[in-house]
Point group: C2
Chain length 204, copies 2
Amino acid sequence: MPKATVERLPLYLQCLQAMGDSETTVSSDVLANIAGVNSANVRKDLSYLGSHGVRGVGYDRLELCVQLRRALGLTDKWPVVIIGVGNLGSALANYQGFDPSGFNVIGLYDADPSKIGDPVDGHRIKSMEELELDIKEHDVQMAILTTPAGAAQEVADMLVGAGILSILNFAPALLKLPDTVKCRQVDLATELQILSYYQATRTA
Amino acid sequence: MPKATVERLPLYLQCLQAMGDSETTVSSDVLANIAGVNSANVRKDLSYLGSHGVRGVGYDRLELCVQLRRALGLTDKWPVVIIGVGNLGSALANYQGFDPSGFNVIGLYDADPSKIGDPVDGHRIKSMEELELDIKEHDVQMAILTTPAGAAQEVADMLVGAGILSILNFAPALLKLPDTVKCRQVDLATELQILSYYQATRTA
DNA sequence: GTGCGCTTGTGAAACGAATCACGATGCCCA
DNA sequence: TGGGCATCGTGATTCGTTTCACAAGCGCAC
């Protein structure tokens, strides 16, 4: 499945879920308008799911959701860990969208001994030693990194050593990782700078 | 300038700044390795800056930083507002990277009356009425949206009305905006779901 | 039942971006 | 001062993605 398609599937899922139960069926055209993409593109993307829409009618909304979730590997909940419980880590810990999206935060971890034991959204912050044990015990494969930039690489190395295979990195640092590990970088400064470019060229 | 290039420029800037002052000069090859892209790609990207590297030597690191910042429109600081001071908004307000990246948070705003006046990182949370005034007074063009999903569209409409031209949206909602307004969406669930896909296909 | 309108699925074409390959060029050192 | 090495800049090529265009198919109305 093309990379570009994979990155749009969650978008479709979000659109379908946001539509509410009023519509039992969706056409590629309607979905395309909501998602802001071309309708042929939607159809081609969905064709990778082996999905069968009905000509003259469209796609069954609920069935399509199921197929999207299956394609994205969301049939079971993934256990995830959050490392670095600063402001951002706490914010993510409180995020209510994990469960409906298919994820289950099993623990929060921080290197700062003074934080350990503090309650955050029903969890108690745990130590880095426990992190390694928890990863192995629960067979965790996905981690969210919200440490300061300086600590990110060191923590990432540890995560990789413990068996983590996917990292969502919010730390403003580029991680050096083995290519068996998949990483996605989310960087506030980068996003703003991209907007800045378009803002600046707009006036020029 | 190609969209793909624009989205890499902040990455290059980050790499160059992270290199420290030890290196006065950088080759496309070195930069490419750090950034994780092809060196010909780096050269082509940098050639859009009108940058002149020196054959046999490379690029002057500091000069390149200046040119990148100029290309991205970061010569002056952009005033930005943050709307929605929940966990995530507070986290962003405390983010130390705004200033070095070229941005200046001029205010935090929330619809909840009980929050107004609360101090967050040297700011006091202000009301939505003040938001509109501040935008016009300071000629703010960029906004960061960290409200709950349900409020996002309404707030976005107001921002657009007040003159905002670029929105960085952390709310898990797709905004309907006039195409004069540029928006970038950052969505935790989406990112995790993309990772989930690769995680799932890895084992399959 | 038959025809018409809507919508899918998909080959073909167009587009944009990444990579390759190499000529051009400046620096360093003998 | 000249030769060799390192590196840039960029045309040509390849690759991946998007868009177009249309035949095929389904359902509904009459």
